[in-house]
């Protein structure tokens, strides 16, 4: 190798090394980029646009609309009793749904955690509601509550829960329970599957050691099962809470938010404003408030988590 050739060779080697290093660094982006682009286009951009609608008068039926109106929508919603009602309902809806889904799901998971003949079949049957599309679940339960074709009004009357055999869904005070029950029916399998998976990951040795040490079943449940489940439970519940708070389908189908907006939750209210009144501006304003509440919830969780972690 002459003294002149060597620098050229070295540059060629360096260039090849540079390209290979760049290609290696770019690899992960190539795999993830298509998804990212799609998400930005279909979800991020509309999100930003949606936020701007909250400050504009945007009505689909009125081609002249679109002016900037500042905080007008927010003042409107502050004075809107339907909005506050929807807010209250969102809390009721979320708390009731999550509590029942989780509690019953846990019981089901515990039942399925024991080996018994026919377990596979039973598992398939109890998880079936989850496969049912939510709109169908909503319709199905709406029909069950309908005294014309459904048995529930008669049974509820027979049990003394209702005075007469009418449709639960037409009573403004109690109508929300219709969708809640449908939601619980539909949602138990999800919790049951998650909790069952977590239960099955608890090593058997620990139970055996505890049994040898003299711990009875209730003690074993409290001291072994619950602590092991706690992390999975916590995360699942928190994520599910957000998801359920946003879940408007059942209410839209079963009651359309009625009677008289009494079963609206925030997300169904947003939908009916957008879909029925075609008032995108107002709908977006309510949506902005919902988003802010969810963010506050998420941040409260982070703070709580940090506090708990510092404590332990």
């Amino acid at each position: 190798m002459t003294a002149q050739a060597r620098p050229m060779q070295r540059r060629a080697i360096w260039r090849r090394a540079y390209w290979r290093r760049t290609a290696l660094a770019a690899e992960p982006y190539l795999y993830t980029l298509p998804s990212v682009l799609l998400l930005c286009a279909v979800m991020l951009v509309p999100l930003v646009i949606g936020l701007t609608y909250a400050f504009h008068d945007v009505r689909l039926l009125d081609p002249m609309s679109g002016d900037f109106i500042g905080l007008e929508h927010f003042r409107e919603l502050y004075a809107d009793p339907a909005f506050w009602n929807a807010l209250r309902n969102t809390v009721t809806w979320t708390v009731a749904s999550v509590t029942l889904q989780f509690g019953l799901g846990l019981i089901l998971a515990l039942l399925l955690n024991r080996l018994f003949p026919g377990r596979a079949l039973v598992q398939l049957l109890v998880f079936l509601p989850w496969a049912i599309p939510s709109f169908l679940s909503g319709l199905n339960w709406a029909w069950l509550f309908n005294p014309v074709v459904g048995p529930l009004p008669y049974w509820l009357k027979a049990l003394g829960v209702m005075a007469a055999a009418d449709n639960l869904l037409s009573h403004p005070r109690h109508a929300l329970w219709g969708p809640i029950i449908a939601n619980v029916w539909w949602g138990i399998p999800f919790f049951a599957i998650t909790l069952l998976a977590a239960l099955q990951s608890i090593p058997v040795d620990i139970y055996e050691a505890a049994a040898i040490d003299g711990a009875g079943p209730w003690v074993r449940f409290r001291r072994i099962t619950l602590p092991f489940l706690a992390p999975t439970m916590a995360i699942t519940i928190l994520l599910r809470t957000v998801w359920i708070a946003n879940f408007a389908d059942l209410i839209v189908i079963m009651t359309k938010g009625g009677p008289a907006d009494s079963t609206q939750i925030l997300s169904s209210y947003i939908f009916t404003q957008a879909f029925q009144r075609l008032d995108f501006g107002y709908a977006s304003a309510v949506a902005t408030v919902l988003l802010a509440l969810l963010l506050a919830y998420a941040m409260a969780l982070m703070v709580l988590r940090a506090v708990l972690m510092r404590r332990s």
Partner: protein
């Protein structure tokens, strides 16, 4: 967990029976009304099984209504969404599983955020964005929107399946003479067939059941999907319960069949995802 004693087993089976009945009763009722002839519908309302059964409701739904069209639309949208979502999610999931890179937390964060905010928020902007592009009243528009909605969850699902495959296998393949993409295609992907099946199933089910966006973006019955069609049918013929229930049973069939086959993998998938938190 070992519980002893006959009483505990009796309680166990009793509670299970309650759950099974609770789970199956609504579906049973749906079936029951769908085969009850119209003349018995209102009289025998609360009986557990009609005195006479008939398939006339199914016949009308299939032959005389637009349900076959709605069904077809839903199948097309759900299947296409499932395929595209799974393709994108496989790539993204692999990226998350095998690489540590600077943008990773941002991208994962983006995906998590999209799962958290209320989708109703963007229903209006998406409508206004898709309308000038001619993608409202269109199956294509729905597929695009649904794919975006499902990609994050599908990606995390695929990631957990990829995580279960040891990295040695790609390394062995890369030494054998494959570049990473070839190793991915020929070695890793064939090993995640259960994961692919689970993801396809999840996305298909999610797309099949989606209501609000289908309702919003669609005003023509030619491009209605099943949920929209069923809902319109319900409000139009609010008295013909027999036919509605028959339509409902028909709507159930694809997802139930899917579910029976992939139930095992669904549990596996959620296990992998959920236990990881």
């Amino acid at each position: 967990m070992e519980l002893h004693g006959k009483w505990s087993w009796a309680l166990h089976y009793f509670l299970l029976a309650v759950f099974v009945i609770f789970a199956l009763f609504p579906l049973f009722w749906l079936l029951k009304v769908s085969i009850t002839p119209n003349d018995l519908l209102y009289g025998e309302g609360v009986r557990l099984w009609p005195s006479r059964s008939t398939f006339e409701h199914y016949a009308s739904v299939i032959a005389h209504s637009q349900f076959p069209l709605f069904f077809r639309n839903s199948v097309i949208v759900a299947a296409t969404t499932a395929i595209f979502s799974t393709l994108l999610a496989t790539a993204a999931g692999y990226g998350f599983s095998r690489f540590q890179f600077r943008g990773k937390y941002w991208i994962v964060g983006l995906m998590l955020v999209t799962q958290m905010f209320p989708l109703v928020m963007i229903i209006a902007p998406i409508f206004r964005l898709l309308k000038p592009l001619g993608l409202t009243n269109s199956l294509t528009g729905l597929v695009i929107v649904y794919t975006a909605f499902n990609v994050p969850f599908a990606s995390f699902l695929m990631q957990s399946f990829f995580d279960a495959i040891p990295k040695d296998l790609e390394e062995a393949a890369m030494l054998d003479g494959a570049n990473r993409f070839a190793a991915f295609r020929r070695i890793i992907v064939p090993l995640t067939l259960p994961g692919l099946a689970a993801t396809l199933g999840f996305v298909f089910t999610a797309a099949w059941s989606e209501l609000l966006f289908a309702l919003m973006l669609n005003s023509s019955s030619a491009t209605s999907t099943f949920p929209v069609g069923l809902l319109a049918f319900v409000s139009k013929f609010s008295v013909d319960f027999g036919q509605m229930m028959a339509a409902g049973v028909l709507a159930l069939l694809p997802v139930c069949i899917f579910f029976v086959f992939i139930q095992r993998y669904l549990v596996q998938g959620l296990t992998a995802g959920a236990v990881k938190g």
